[in-house]
Amino acid sequence: MITLRSSDGETFDLDEVVAVELQTIKNMMEDRCAESVIPVPNVEGKILAKVIEYCKKHVKSTAKAEEHALSDADLKAWDSDFIKLDQATLFDLIMAANYLDIKSLLDLLCQTVADMIKGKSPEEIRKIFNIKNDFTPEEEKEIRRENQWAFE
């Protein structure tokens, strides 16, 4: 049993087989033997809870897990429900998945965001990601002109 502690002090107990899905935690487990509680300072409780929920669902490998194993189709359906989140939570989750190095979750979340933004305009993109436009109006005009067709 591994215990993780979020940035805001919440603790979560996980089976080792789930904990190793989080590559960062797995590496820590291999390096620091005796620690009972592993701090996760970058991730707050409500986000860590979501991460763990995902990992528990996606864990493979043990016989116990295989009993409850979902089919690929079921898992996909579960994933589509899982990602129905507000934008801020999605982004927090992405950062957590990145820090904790959970490839499948990161792929799922990045794909979700990609699907969300693919049809949008540059202005909408800047708003979503809180990005400052550091081009001058002339520079931006030139870039748009070069690839006119992409804006149609």
Binding site: F91, M95, C110, K118, I125, F129, I131, F135, E140, F151
Partner: protein, 392 residues
């Protein structure tokens, strides 16, 4: 952290900031977008412009399994009726994979038309590689085109290649990260009234260095190559016929990296054959008998040529309303989900369902003149960000 303050009144409002994603995470997201979106997002900010324009981004995007898994159809056809000798290239912007969707692919409209300069002679889609199409005309004009980014580049002319004489090939050398065009020309020396001497001259264009290079090779006997090569596993492959009638045709491959020729045997089943790559294997289609198709199941193993029965041809022949049916046989372009076959026969792009034994026409190209052996006007490509320009 940004904390916005309400400016009016006694209350300070604290608004949760939108978490800002690091650029490496943004890269992960951007790599999953359609090319059109990525190009549009170049103007979001300078950091994104630099990221997206970097050849490394294009390379990473190219190597993604989802990039490789999707194919699109491209075709050369006649331009508007009132303009003569004017050819246009149409690239479908929908993936072929959408055709396998019951609901999708109903009316297959591509929204993009391009005529890349003027081609004064017959134009051919030579081959596609990493999303780049190589377009060649009989006048020796060679253009590299990426239909996904709409960039194109016309190769500098090689004055030593006479018009209409070369046999062309296009491909990629991974060790040098270079796209190359190879042109093989027969140079005939008439030594005397009885003795004619053939030399094969090979010219290779390197996109990276934007230069032509001459590779002199000497072959004793004349070897007649079919004009346009197919690229696979680092080599351009032509069907070669010997001068002597009793010699079997074979495949001549030019390794673009080693710059050497090698030969491969091929089944001598048909008078005219067309070589294409389908599903990662060399395939031979017969012009006169489309029921015969040969697949080289293991590359380089001569004995692995396997004959495949093409189930679709009888259906399509019956339905064809063209008189000289023998010239209009189908060629397999692509397989989708094992059951669905994408076929092309001069004019029509057809989706054939092997399981149900049904077919539907997806597209019929405009043709004001009749062509023979027209299959070099169609090709599949993948959607990539690869630039057709030399890296200067």
């Amino acid at each position: 952290m940004n904390v916005e303050e309400g400016s009016v009144g006694r209350f300070k409002k604290t608004v949760s900031p939108t978490p800002e994603l690091a650029l490496e995470i943004m890269e992960n997201i951007l790599l999953r977008l359609p090319v059109k979106s990525v190009i549009r997002f170049k103007c979001v900010c300078k950091a994104w412009h630099t990221l997206i324009s970097d050849p490394y981004f294009a390379k990473t995007h190219l190597r993604l399994p989802q990039t490789q898994a999707r194919s699109r159809f491209c075709i050369i056809e006649d331009g508007e009726r009132d303009e003569h000798n004017y050819m246009v290239i149409r690239a479908f912007t929908e993936d072929c994979e959408a055709f396998s969707d019951e609901t999708g692919g109903g009316s297959l409209a591509f929204d993009y038309l391009s005529d890349i300069g003027n081609f004064k002679h017959e134009v051919v889609l030579l081959d596609s590689c990493d999303g780049l199409l190589c377009i060649v005309d009989l006048g020796g004009k060679i253009v590299l085109w990426n239909p996904s980014t709409r960039q194109y580049y016309q190769l500098p002319r090689n004055p030593d290649i006479s018009e209409g004489c070369g046999c062309y090939g296009f491909g990629y050398v991974s060790s040098s990260d270079d796209y190359r065009v190879v042109v093989v020309t027969s140079v005939i020396n008439i030594c005397s009234t009885l003795l004619v001497d053939y030399k094969i001259r090979v010219d290779v264009f390197s996109l990276k260095s934007n230069k032509w290079k001459r590779i002199q090779k000497e072959e004793e006997q004349g070897t007649v190559l079919i004009k346009y090569a197919t690229f696979l596993h680092g080599a351009a492959h032509w069907i070669a016929y010997h001068d002597m009638p009793h010699d079997d045709p074979r495949i001549v491959a030019f390794d673009l990296e080693k710059e050497q020729f090698r030969e491969m045997a091929m089944p001598n089943d048909e008078e005219y054959l067309k070589l294409r790559v389908v599903g990662g294997c060399l395939c031979l289609n017969g012009y006169n008998d489309p029921t015969k198709m040969w697949v080289m199941k293991q590359y380089g193993i001569d004995t692995s040529w396997t004959k495949i029965t093409a189930p679709y041809s009888s259906i399509l022949r019956r339905s064809s309303d063209i008189m000289n049916q023998q010239f209009y046989d189908c060629e397999l372009l692509h397989t989708l989900n094992d059951d669905l076959l994408l076929l092309f026969n001069l004019q029509k792009l057809t989706l054939y369902d092997q399981k149900k034994n049904t077919y539907k026409y997806l597209y019929e190209k405009k043709m004001w003149y009749e062509y023979e052996y027209d299959i070099d006007h169609a090709s599949l490509y993948v959607e990539t960000l690869v630039s057709p320009h030399p890296q200067l």
